[in-house]
Symmetry: C2
Subunit: 380 residues, 2 copies
C-alpha cells in the first residue's frame, strides 16, 4: 500500500505502451503504477512516476521490484517461467500466475492444454525435423510453422510452402510447432478479465484485421456476428480463463471458419484487440486488468457507442513531416478522432500509437479510423 494515499501499488514488468496505458488507467483509481523498465526512455517510463530500471530476466531485479507491491503483473510474456515461480515461492502475488501464464508463453503447451480441454484448435503437431513437417503436411502445402516461444506481431510465424523451406527453418534450431493453414473467413477476438475471487467479465467480441501478421484494425462489435456465435466465443474465453486459472485479462484470438471458431492464440495481459475499450467500453481493459489483479469487483464492459473502430498507427518512412505536424492536420480534419500516441521513436512498421473512432454506423466509423491512422503514419 502507498501510505501517502491509502491505496494499493501494482507493479508491471515491462515499460511498453501497455504499461503506459495501464498507468493512465491507474491514475483514476488513485494509484500510480510501478513500472520495471529496461531503459528510462521506454514508452511507460516516459510518463510514470514510479519507474525502476531493470530487466525482466534478472530475478534479483524482479524481487527488488516486487517489494511493497500488492500485485505484480506483466506488460509482455517474456518473463522466464522459473522467475515467476520463484516470486510465487517468495509470497509475491503475481498475476497471471506461472501455472496460467505458461500457456500464453509456450505455444506447444498451449495447444496441448486447449486440446485436453476440448477447445477447438487447428490440426497441429510439435516438430523437431524437416521430415516431421513433411509428414504433417502430407503433400498439402503450405503449412504454418510457429516458434513455441517469443513470437509477436507476425515474428516467429512462417508460412512453409515446400520441404526445402521446412528444412531451412528447422536448421535454425528454433523449437517449433506446425499447424494446418485454416481456411478462415476472418479473425475475431474475445477478451475477458478474471479476478482471484473468480468473477469473470466478458467484453463484446470484436473482429481483428491483420496485415503481415500485425493487427491493423479492430471493429467492435464484430460486424454481422450472430448472437449465438458471439456467445460461443465469450463462453469459450470464460471457460478458458476459469480452466487455466487466469487472473487479469485473457485475450483469445480466434479464427472464424465455416460453421465455427477455432483458437489461434492466447494472451494474458492488456491486448491490442482491446485498445478500443478506452473510449468504447464503460470500463477500459487497462482499468479492468488492474481491478482483476487487485481482486476488486469487475467493471461494466458495455459498449459506449453502436460502432467502435480502433486503427493502429504504424511508423512510416523517416524524413516525412513530423508527428506533431501530422497531429495538427488530423485534429483539423477529424475533431472527434481519439488519438493515443505511445511516445515511441518512429520506425517503419512499428506500432507507435492508435486511433479510436466511435459512432452509429460501422462503415463510416471504420473509414474515419483508417483515414486517421493513415494520416498519422504516412511519411513522405
Amino acid at each position: 500500500m502507498d501510505t501517502r494515499t491509502g491505496l494499493p501499488v501494482v507493479g508491471m514488468v515491462g515499460g511498453g505502451q501497455l504499461a503506459r496505458m495501464t498507468h493512465q488507467a491507474a491514475i483514476s483509481l488513485g494509484q500510480s503504477l510501478r513500472v520495471l523498465s529496461v531503459t528510462a526512455d521506454d514508452s511507460a517510463a516516459l510518463v510514470a512516476a514510479d519507474v525502476r530500471i531493470g530487466t525482466h530476466t534478472d530475478l534479483a531485479a524482479l524481487r527488488e521490484f516486487a517489494k511493497g507491491c500488492e500485485a505484480v503483473t506483466f506488460d509482455h510474456e517474456h518473463v522466464p517461467t522459473e522467475h515467476i515461480e520463484a516470486l510465487e515461492a517468495d509470497g509475491v502475488k503475481i498475476f497471471p500466475g506461472s501455472k496460467a501464464l505458461v500457456f500464453a508463453q509456450d505455444k506447444g503447451l498451449m495447444r496441448e492444454r486447449l486440446a485436453a480441454l476440448g477447445a477447438p484448435v487447428p490440426r497441429w503437431r510439435r516438430v523437431t525435423t524437416a521430415a516431421d513437417i513433411e509428414s504433417f503436411a502430407g503433400g498439402s502445402w503450405p503449412v504454418v510453422a510457429k516458434a513455441t516461444r517469443g513470437g509477436y506481431d507476425g515474428k516467429g510465424v512462417w508460412m512453409l510452402s515446400s520441404p526445402e523451406q521446412a528444412a531451412e527453418l528447422v536448421a535454425t534450431g528454433t523449437p517449433l510447432i506446425v499447424e494446418e493453414r485454416v481456411p478462415l473467413r476472418r479473425e475475431l477476438a474475445a477478451l475477458v478479465a478474471r479476478s482471484p475471487f473468480g468473477q469473470v467479465a466478458a467484453y463484446p467480441v470484436v473482429e481483428t484485421v491483420q496485415q503481415d501478421g500485425i493487427c491493423v484494425e479492430v471493429l467492435a462489435p464484430a460486424p454481422g456476428l450472430s448472437e449465438a456465435r458471439a456467445l460461443e466465443a465469450q463462453q469459450l474465453a470464460i471457460d478458458l480463463a476459469n480452466s487455466l486459472g487466469v487472473v487479469g485479462l485473457l485475450a483469445v484470438e480466434l479464427f472464424e471458419i465455416d460453421g465455427g471458431i477455432v483458437v489461434n492464440e492466447l494472451a494474458m495481459r492488456p491486448h491490442n484487440s482491446g485498445h478500443w475499450t478506452i473510449e468504447g467500453a464503460r470500463t477500459s481493459q487497462f482499468e479492468q486488468h488492474l481491478r482483476a489483479v487487485l481482486d476488486y469487483p469487475m467493471g461494466s464492459t458495455t459498449l459506449t457507442a453502436p460502432a467502435v473502430v480502433m486503427a493502429n498507427v504504424l511508423g512510416g518512412q523517416p524524413g516525412g513531416i513530423s508527428i506533431d505536424e501530422r497531429l495538427h492536420h488530423l485534429f483539423a480534419a477529424d475533431p472527434g478522432a481519439r488519438v493515443h500516441l505511445y511516445g515511441k521513436q518512429v520506425r517503419p512498421g512499428r506500432k507507435i500509437g492508435h486511433v479510436t473512432v466511435l459512432g452509429d454506423d460501422m462503415t463510416s466509423v471504420r473509414a474515419r479510423a483508417v483515414r486517421a491512422a493513415k494520416w498519422l503514419q504516412e511519411g513522405e
Copy 2:
C-alpha cells in the same frame, strides 16, 4: 520539444488534481506533463514522470521550470501577475496570459471588465469601509462580500447580515467587493476553450449544484434548460474568451435568474464543472486545455450519452473504513460508475475525488452518481 518523442512539452504550475488529470490526458497525446509542485506528495506529483519541486511564488523557480516548455499553464490562479509578466517578457508562451488571467485572479477587475463588456453581472461595488458596505446594502441585508483575490471552494466569500458583521470583516484588512444576493433559481456553468489561433470550442452548458460554497454535483446537459438560454450562455462564454483574449479553458460560472443569466465567477483552467467531460464528452476538458495552449485544433465537445452526472467525493470523518475498502463496495454495487481518486490524504470536506455516471435518464443517473460519491466519502 521532447527529443525522445518529437512531441511538445507542456508545463503546468501547481501539483493538484487538475494537473494530475491533465497529465493523464497528456499521455494520450504522446506527451508527459511537466509539473511544478510544492511537495513531492501533491496529487499530480504522485503520478507524473517530470516533476519539479518549487513554489509558484518563486520567480526563479518559475523561470527554471519554463525552460524547454512549448507552453506553460496553470493548475490554479495563485501565480502573482508580475511573475507571469516577467515570464512573458522572457519570451515564455504562458497561457492564459497575464492580461487575461488577471480577470480570473482579481474579482474587482473582473467585475469592472465584465461591466465594460456589457456582460450581465450582479449589482456590485468595491468597498474599503464598513460604511461602504452599509451604503451598498441600503438597509437590504444580507449582501455578499468577496475577497478580491485568493478565494476558492467557498473560502473568501461571506454572507453579511448586518453592519456589525460588515465592520468585523473590514477589520481583517481583506480587500473586498460586495454584491447583491442574487435571487437565483440555480447555478449553471459554460465551459469553452480557445486557442491562440482564435478557435473556440464550447461544451454543453451544465447545471452545478453547490453545498456550503463547494460544488457537489454537475449535471450535463443542464436539465430543462431551453435551447435559447443554453445558446445565450455559450455565446456569452465565447464572447468573453475572445474579448479577454483567453487561451486555454474558460469556465464561466453563472446564476440562472428569472428571465436570464448573470455571471458569478470566471476560471481560466480545467474546472470542477468540467470533470464530467472525461467520459461524458468526446474530448475531455483536460485534453482540450492542452490542445488549446499548444494551438492544436480543438476536439469535439459532443456529449457521449444523453445524461451525465459528476459528483464530488469529499473527505469524510477519520476513523471509518478505508478508501480502498469503500472502493470495493462501490465497484460491487455499481459496475458502471467511473471513479477518479486524486491520491490525496482524506480530510473532512476536502475534495478527494469524483465519480461520473452516464446513461439515458437524468434522474436515475443522478441518483447513482450521488450514491456512489456518498459511498466513497462516508466514514463511520
